[in-house]
Amino acid sequence: MTEKEKILARIREALTLPAPIPGHAHANGRSVLPAGLLTHNSTPSRWLPEVGSAFEDRLALFRKNVADLKAEFHFVESADQAVGVLTNFRDAEGWKKVGTHGGPLTDPACEALGLPICRTDRAYEVTDLESCDAGISECDALVAQTGSVLVTGRSAGGRALSVLPPHHVVLARRQQLVGDLPEAFALLKRKYAGDFPSFISLITGPSRTGDIERILVLGAHGPKKLTIVCW
């Protein structure tokens, strides 16, 4: 008998005795959740923090959440203006090299920057990416409810691009703004069903820690700055 078989046998043996469902002491003795429970008749959207249905409401909520998280949000009119935001950062922060991946939003933007580039959607050296001043990526969605950016290894240039350089810049289109977390997970399933990337992350603000006297410090191990440029 392998350990797998032994553990599964112990689990099956243990589960021959039924346990009461929390908050339903009288439903004891059933092997499946009875109909009429919350999990069968509802979606978490009804309990999670409220999100409006109009685009403007969601945009306002996203803007507020991103500000609370100490990230930057630039909602601009066009791709040209988005490039303008990037060149401003390049000049203000003195970028010498950026990391990025190939994509319809990143390609024109990075070309306009005119800087040496480390591409992470093909084989690359970690030390090369580590020496970049910023990582510029696309994303799968922006989530209004939490001010989060949803990325995957496929949409955002692998696992390291969005965490290793000190400044992560996300380029997104306004259609990518979704309302709440259940919508974000539904989108993931629709987009990647059957073939998920090996890495998915919800990024909510720049890297932070409160491990020293519960005092907030940004840039613990990941980026100190997170900027979202959307048009």
């Binding site: 005795l17 346990a19 090996s198 890297s207």
Partner: protein, 468 residues
């Protein structure tokens, strides 16, 4: 008395009197409470969210065999090597096996309470490997050669001065009392470790059966780097971490964050579904998942307390517990402290050795009320007391209750004992709090409530007489 009880009592006495410790803990937890309440308030219906989370975890834990098989099948289909360990020793052997096979020297770790549970760091260091904790709080307690103080805030008991001192001693950095500078010292030291480490080791917050993914929640980005840069990555997790569906995270991620730190959502919530896939440019070449039982199946076999396996390790019950707030995390001497630790440790490490933790509770129920998955914590403490007494009855307790029953069942006898006690208590102040005091165990640190000069019965009779 076993040494575990003595150790608990000795440390509890020391720490309840330590005002500096109390100040650090109270300050940190006041901040936590304020943000937690604000974030909970932003939910449309926190109580329904708790109920749904409890039902979802019930579903997962009560069909654990089915969901584990699904989870493992999905992971293996995409090239992950899954290992099963019945004991901590087996889990350590599996991890050592992978390390030796890869000829690895250095290991970078992100936070994993399961690794504390199996004492992995000690074993690795003893065998001559370099192992570095990358979570800031864990890094600090590792440098101090201490166990984490709290499952979410490992260095909560330390001031910035303490941290500066250990950095100066162990890393040779210049002393500073600026938390940002201290964080940057750790960042610089650890950056290089991620890049050079042979193996990355992580824990897990959830295991998604439907898609075969590990979910890791963190604020710093250290777990993301740990799972991105080394060539080989290992995740060590308890078998109870299962959630049935991917979309369950839409509820569990915000609830974990709200209960754990008071944040609406933790900074990075990442899902890992395997090693680098064809067409992917980075990530490990090999991904191993080690599933740990370590007597969790014994807890599973107790339907009364099975819901303790619903725990998502948010630490909320520690934060509200009046005992934890006074005696601190290290006093417990366990991997998991506070109410959840007091409930599960007797199951994981032996009822008789750890039954004293069932009494480290005021039974106020604050833990049960705050638990995001509705674990009936304070009732489980009572059940552990009952089970311990049933398994090994105490002769003294048995005699005391016999005596009590004898007295209370005989009104004349009860009146006599009451009269003697009422007379004797006049002289109690002479002895109170001294070793000769028969109630010394209590009066050493507490007031003994006096016996009333008049019982209710006597009062009632007098009142009736006066009316007649």
């Amino acid at each position: 008395m076993t040494s575990f009880v003595e150790q608990f009592k000795r440390r509890a006495v020391q720490l309840t009197r330590d005002l500096r410790h109390r100040h650090l803990i109270q300050t940190a937890l006041r901040k936590y409470e304020a943000v937690r309440d604000k974030t909970r308030g932003s939910f449309q219906d926190w109580q329904s969210a708790r109920q749904a989370a409890a039902e979802t975890k019930w579903e997962a834990v009560n069909h654990l065999d089915k969901y584990l098989v699904e989870f493992v099948g999905k992971l293996e289909a995409r090239g992950t090597k899954v290992h099963w360990a019945s004991t901590g020793g087996q889990a350590r052997d599996i991890i050592f096996g992978i390390i030796r096979q890869k000829n690895a020297r250095s290991i970078i770790k992100s936070k994993a309470m399961t690794s504390e549970e199996i004492h992995l760091n000690d074993a690795l260091e003893e065998a001559g490997f370099e192992v570095v904790e990358s979570d800031l709080g864990e890094f600090i307690v590792q440098l101090r050669k201490e166990a984490p103080y709290h499952i979410v805030f490992p260095a909560m008991h330390l001031s910035r001065g303490d941290i500066s001192a250990v950095f100066a001693r162990e890393l040779g950095s210049a002393p500073t009392d600026n938390p940002e500078e201290l964080t940057m010292i750790a960042r610089r030291v650890l950056r290089n470790k991620y890049i050079t480490a042979d193996i990355g080791l992580t824990g897990a917050n959830f295991a998604i059966a439907e898609t075969g993914m590990i979910s890791i929640t963190e604020n710093e980005g250290n777990a993301r780097l740990t799972a991105a840069l080394p060539k080989v990555v290992i995740s060590l997790l308890g078998i109870e971490k299962i959630l049935p569906r991917l979309e369950d995270l839409a509820l569990f991620l915000p609830m974990l964050a709200t209960s754990g730190t008071g944040q609406p959502l933790t900074c990075y919530n990442s899902l890992y579904g395997g090693p680098r896939q064809p067409g992917e440019s980075d990530g490990p070449e090999e991904y191993h998942v080690v599933l740990l039982d370590n007597r969790r199946t014994e807890l599973l076999a107790d339907p009364e307390q099975r819901d303790a396996l619903h725990c998502i390790r948010c630490g909320a019950c520690l934060n509200v517990c009046p005992i934890f707030r006074n005696v601190g995390g290290h006093t417990y001497g366990t991997t998991y402290s506070g109410p959840i630790g007091s409930v599960i440790t007797p199951h994981l490490r032996g009822l008789q050795d750890w039954k004293h933790l069932s009494y480290a509770s005021s039974l106020c129920g604050a833990c049960t009320e705050t638990c995001p998955v509705k674990i009936n914590l304070h009732h489980h403490l009572l059940q552990n007391r009952r089970n311990a007494a049933r398994q090994k009855p105490s002769a003294i307790e048995h005699f005391a209750f016999k005596l009590f029953a004898f007295v209370i069942n005989r009104p004349g006898c009860y009146a006599f004992v009451r009269g003697v006690a009422r007379f004797a208590q006049k002289f109690h102040p002479l002895l109170k709090g001294k070793r000769l005091d028969p109630a010394y165990g209590w009066t050493r640190t507490r007031e003994l409530p006096p016996i009333a000069e008049e019982t209710f019965k006597e009062h009632w009779r007098k009142r009736k007489d006066a009316r007649d």
